[in-house]
Amino acid sequence: MSRIIDKDLKELSATLYRMGELAHRAVLEALIECIEGKEAHEEVREIADTLVAMADHVEDKAFELIARFQPVASDLRTIKSYMKIAYDFARFGRYALDISSINKQIGGLRGCEEWINSYVKRMSEKTLEMVRSSIESLKSHNTQIAEKISEREKEVDKMYFEFIDDLIKCGATIKCAVSSVLIIRYLERIADHAAYICESIIYIATGRKEVLR
C-alpha cells in the first residue's frame, strides 16, 4: 500500500544517492589531481559547495517530514539516518576539497619518492572502494554490503599507522612528507565516514546500533 510519506522518502533517497555519486567524483578528482598532477581545484570546490547545500536541503526536508507525518519505527530511523548520511557525504566533499588544496598550495605529490606515491595510490583505491560500497548499500538498505566495510576500515586504519611508521623510518623531503601525511590523514577520515554511513544503514534496517570501526 502506498503511503503519502513514501513519495517524499523516495525523493530523499534519490537526493542522497546523487550526493553519493557527486562525493565519489570529488574525492576521485582530488586524488588524481594530487597523484598525477592534473588541475581540478575549481571543479572540486564547486562539487563540495553543492554537497553542503544538498545536505542542508536534506536536513530541512527531513524536519518537514517529521513535523508533518510524526513518523515512527523504521520511517523514523530512516529519516534520522538520512540526515546523518547527508552530513557524511558533505564531509567527503570537504575532505576532497582539502586534498585538492594540498595540490594547489604545495604541489601535491609531484616529484616524490615512488614508494610514497604507490602507498598513497593503494590507500586511495581502498578508500574509494569503501566510498562506493557505502553508496551501494544505501541504494537498497543492503546490510550485507554494509557489514563487510568493517574489515576494510580496519585495514585502512592499519595502513595509516604503518605509513607514519615507515615515513619516520625512511624519511623524505618536507614537501612530500607533509603532502603525503595530510592526504593519508584525509583518506583515513573519509574511510571513517564511509563506515558511519554503513552503520546508519544497519540501524535503518535492523534498529541495532553497531560499531563498524
Binding site: 500500500m1 503511503r3 510524526q70 513518523p71 515512527v72 519505527a73 523504521s74 520511517d75 530511523r77 534498529g207
Partner: protein, 252 residues
C-alpha cells in the same frame, strides 16, 4: 516495579466468535499501558475483561485468569461488583448520568454504597473534581446539570465520577475519540498526572496518542497479543514485523 494485573491465557468469546486468543501479559502498577491495534482486534473486549464488564453482554464467555492483587478476579467466590469498585472505567463517549447535577454525578457512587454524611460527600466530591482537573471550572455551580458541560468537561466529570469510589485502576476506552484536540490534550496531561497514583490502561486507535501518553504499549491483532514492551522501544524499533507494518501504516 510491581505487577498490577497478571493476565494468564485470557480467552474471550461473543457467542461462537473467538475474540481474544490466549493473551498473556503483566501490567505494571502506577504506569500507563496503551493498547493499540486495528479495528476489531479485540482491544475494547480486552479491557472489558479486566473489570468483568465483558460478561454483562448476553452470550459472552471468558476463560483464563486475571490475577489482581493476588486474586484471580474470575474465581468462583469473587463478587464482580467489588471488582468494579476497585477497577474503574471511562468510556468512549462521555456519559454523565442525565437528569443529575455535577455534584450528584460524582457523589452517586458513594451514596449508593451507603455514604450518607454530607461533609464526607462534599469533601469526596471536591477531591475527585480536583483530581480530574475540573474543580475550578465547576466549583461555582455544582448544582448545574451534568449535561450542560462541554464534551471535554463531561469526560473529566466521568473521570471524577470514577475516581470518587477510590479505585486502584482506571480503564479508559478511547476516552478522547469524541473530543477536540484541546480537550484531548487536557485529558492526556491529566492521564500522566493520575499515573503517579493509579494504574491506567488506555485503549486508543490513535498511535500518536499512545506514543505521547503511555509507558508501555501492547499491540493486538485479530485477538492476539503480537508485541508488548516499553513505548520507546515499540515506537523506535518494534521487534515484530506486524507491529512495524501497523505503526508505519502499511496495513491494508
Amino acid at each position: 516495579m510491581a505487577v498490577k494485573f497478571d493476565i494468564q491465557n485470557l480467552n474471550a468469546w461473543f457467542g461462537s466468535k473467538h475474540v481474544l486468543k490466549n493473551i498473556n501479559m503483566k501490567i505494571e502498577e502506577n504506569a500507563v499501558t496503551a493498547i493499540i491495534g486495528p479495528s476489531g482486534c479485540g482491544k475494547t473486549t480486552f479491557i472489558r475483561c479486566l473489570n468483568r464488564m465483558h460478561e454483562i453482554t448476553p452470550g459472552s464467555r471468558v476463560s483464563g485468569k486475571v490475577i489482581f492483587n493476588g486474586v484471580n478476579i474470575y474465581d468462583n467466590g469473587v463478587d464482580p461488583v467489588m471488582v468494579r469498585r476497585k477497577i474503574g472505567m471511562v468510556f468512549q463517549k462521555p456519559n454523565p448520568f442525565p437528569m443529575m447535577s455535577v455534584y450528584d454525578n460524582v457523589a452517586i457512587g458513594l451514596k449508593l454504597n451507603g455514604v450518607r454524611d454530607k461533609k464526607t460527600l462534599d469533601a469526596a466530591v471536591r477531591r475527585s473534581l480536583e483530581l480530574a482537573n475540573l474543580w475550578d471550572e465547576v466549583k461555582d455551580d455544582l448544582k448545574k446539570s451534568g449535561a450542560s458541560l462541554s464534551g471535554g468537561q463531561q469526560q473529566r466529570l466521568c473521570i471524577a465520577r470514577a475516581l470518587a469510589v477510590e479505585p486502584e485502576v482506571l480503564l479508559m476506552d478511547e476516552p478522547c475519540s469524541a473530543l477536540d484536540p484541546i480537550a484531548t490534550a487536557k485529558i492526556e496531561a491529566l492521564i500522566r498526572e493520575l499515573a503517579k497514583n493509579y494504574t491506567i490502561v488506555i485503549v486508543t486507535h490513535n498511535m500518536q496518542q499512545a506514543a505521547r501518553v503511555s509507558d508501555y504499549t501492547a499491540f493486538l491483532y485479530l485477538g492476539e497479543l503480537i508485541e508488548y514492551g516499553a513505548t520507546k522501544q515499540i515506537f523506535e524499533n518494534p521487534k515484530h514485523e506486524l507491529t512495524e507494518k501497523y505503526l508505519t501504516g502499511k496495513f491494508g
